[in-house]
Assembly symmetry: C2
Homo-oligomer: 436 residues x 2
């Protein structure tokens, strides 16, 4: 596919592109990254960036395009987008590896087109297979589509031998209140974009391509800040009002890749069976309800002790600014630890978890008022790691035992997905598994 | 309140502000307006604009501020915002005019602060009455908060004598499938902003101020395009993929005010009782579900005949461009009308409705998958008019009888609210009614 022919929404504009470039830097800053974005070449390195062949002056919210092809799938290190959809599918009864492979090929084709800002297809002769038109007028708006396989996918497709141990079920946690109907699934798709109509357009297209091969198991919607709403590069804030994401590993750190992406496997022996996942990652998805009616009654000083960081700017209670490392041993004049023993930031800190690392890349959600009259709102927590047993699991186990935040959150749904590497040109996502 | 002390998110930025200025023009273009925005002085004329005292160079998505005070409330002629919340309240049992007046005063105070990008309050001595912090870092992001009174409000407050005939219940329509629990309400608040966290912050603040005076009756969330997602000023598109809003009345038209805003009433006689509503408007709110699974099966050419306009660019099927007037009598070579008899655009056109005019200013909505497995998605249709009997009612009556679009939409909730004029400085919204 020629990049020259791509429809870009904001061609010919007079904007200097300052906003968009600031945003790219700023939002990756939110995920912890600095420096790599503007210097990278998109797919080649695998970090999201604007199209390298487009003059910077044309980069605006709508015209920013993420790369579908690359070492890693998009939507993992891509800057947080304003709008997100998560959707899980189960394969239809009687559907096997062949149909799943065909679906992954269709999905990859449509994802590539959508991420380039193109319509889904040229339409059929009778006009029924047409693009819905919802994204017309807008550019790609940083759209990403990311695909993952759940544990059950391998049973349905006869590929259990290739199922990596990292997909073993997450252990139960005492604070779980999980709804199984909104958890897991054979297939998982994460959609993100900076425009709500572009994201919805992609969601409809992905659903349509599932056709009779797979049915929707669950679907959730989320959001983050709009590009340009904050002046300076700012770490994301969640609906508790707390800065969230400060401690994320940074792509500039030498061991970032090793911690977030699955390394190459030996060519022989047992582990060769999992070679298909090299360059991939694991996504843990948790729908975490925030009990805002309770949380908001807490005085700010008490909220800060629950978190261990200042609400206004995210600085640790041990002092400094947002990016100052926490001093976990520092005590106040009264001899008490400034960052309390049960503070969320202390318990979840990599220092206290043998360097456990996950890249948190969430969306907030708000689905109105729940049946019990409380706000149905919180975090679509999504974290990425090379091994859930060294990322999410040990941290959540510790939080489960003594996190001061626990009374104010409730894990309502959970998913664990193996997310294949990015597709090379001509390849579809998951091909190395499905044709192994 | 001094405008100099306002916290603006994007001070000191180097952006040229091109994006934001384009957007202001573009989105008002979407609602049909041109020209008035940049030349207006906000509150004085009542059309939304950026702060007149701020250099244009600083105008970006986050720092754009709408005026709370003015002849009309904000959120009526304000450009469409990326995110919206609608929330209806019922007054608590035993609550009367006095408590309602106190609530409107609290709400007006908090709305004014929020729209200026300020926290809700300085906090109480014990720290419990604090701003939730959710909007920290962002500017006002074009936040608007708009208040309306439902029919039942007048009974609960002993003000039935001042209830205008315009609040008489809407007639039933044959296609109505209304859920009374999600319809009407004593009080209605519309929140819009270009940043989702800023909008949510306002929603929580409004709910909190309702305290024990009023309880939530229903609440809905919606969205529009993100500023900058489209290159050129573009009329909004709905989730059917159709350009929506082309025929809206334009503030440049000489009779715009007369059609959208309630005129001054005689000082004596029966109508003096409704003098409080002068400068106000009526909002009709309809939750219109789109049956997308059915709609998307229709070939594009057929969709276009249902609407009467081209999908790609909104041009009428009688020819021209989006803004070309429809030629309702023009026939094709086969002698058939190019814009079919039952086309939505024909039936709803002002020409066919004695010039009936309403200003449509909707949000799309998407609440995931409904219990029946279909997408719970559509339009939070909101229209503004000086008199519902000359705006929404006659048009909907006609549509109800023969609109080709009817099989693809379902009206699931309905509300009718009298929206008072804007508050003057020192005044609260609705004061002229509640202290009449």
């Amino acid at each position: 596919m020629s990049t020259d022919s791509k429809k870009i929404g904001n061609n010919g504009e007079s904007s200097t592109g300052e906003l968009s470039r600031r945003r790219l830097l700023g939002s990756v800053g939110a995920a912890g990254a600095t420096g790599l974005v503007l210097g990278s070449t998109g797919g080649a390195i695998g970090y999201a960036t604007a199209r390298p062949d487009k003059p910077t002056a044309l980069t605006t919210v709508g015209s920013t395009e993420e790369m579908f092809h690359g070492k890693h799938q998009p939507g993992i290190t891509t800057p947080l987008q304003a709008r997100g959809h998560l959707i899980a599918f189960d394969l239809a009864p009687g559907t096997g590896r062949k149909e799943a492979a065909a679906l992954m090929r269709r999905w990859s084709t449509v994802a590539q087109r959508l991420m380039a800002g193109e319509p889904t297809s040229g339409g059929s002769a009778d006009g029924t297979t047409h693009d819905t038109g919802i994204a017309l007028d807008a550019g790609p708006s940083s759209l990403t589509v990311t695909f993952g396989f759940g544990r059950t996918f391998f049973e349905r497709t006869g590929l259990v031998a290739h199922r990596p141990p990292g997909l073993d079920p997450l252990p139960p946690f005492s604070s779980d209140r999980l709804d199984s109907k909104r958890s897991n699934g054979d297939l998982w798709v994460q959609i993100g974009a900076d425009d709500a109509l572009v994201a919805f357009h992609a969601l409809r297209a992905i659903q349509k391509e599932a056709a009779t091969t797979a049915g929707v198991r669950w679907q959730m919607n989320g959001f983050n800040r709009t590009p340009g709403a904050t002046a300076a590069p700012a770490t994301a804030r969640n609906l508790m009002g707390q800065i969230d994401g400060t401690g994320n590993p940074k792509p500039t750190e030498s061991d970032f890749d090793r911690r977030i992406f699955v390394p190459s496997q030996p060519k022989t022996g047992d582990e060769a069976k999992y070679a298909w996942l090299a360059g991939g990652s694991y996504a843990v998805v948790r729908r975490i309800r925030m009990l805002l009616d309770d949380w908001e009654k807490l005085p700010v000083a008490q909220q800060e002790r629950v978190i261990g960081r200042r609400k206004s700017d995210g600085a640790p209670l041990s002092g400094g600014t947002e990016t100052t490392p926490m001093d976990l041993d520092k005590a106040g004049p009264d001899g008490k630890l400034l960052i309390p023993d049960n503070a969320h930031a202390r318990i979840s800190s990599p220092e206290r978890n043998s360097g456990a690392a996950m890249l948190r890349r969430p969306f907030s959600y708000h689905d109105g008022i729940a049946a019990d009259g409380t706000p149905d709102t919180g975090l679509l927590f999504i974290c990425w790691q090379a091994d859930p047993l060294k990322g999410f699991v040990p941290v959540q186990r510790k939080l489960d035992r003594g996190d001061a935040l626990s009374p104010f959150v409730r894990h309502e749904a959970s998913g664990l997905f193996a997310v294949p590497s990015g597709a090379a040109k001509g390849e579809y996502v998951g091909q190395r598994l499905l044709e192994s």
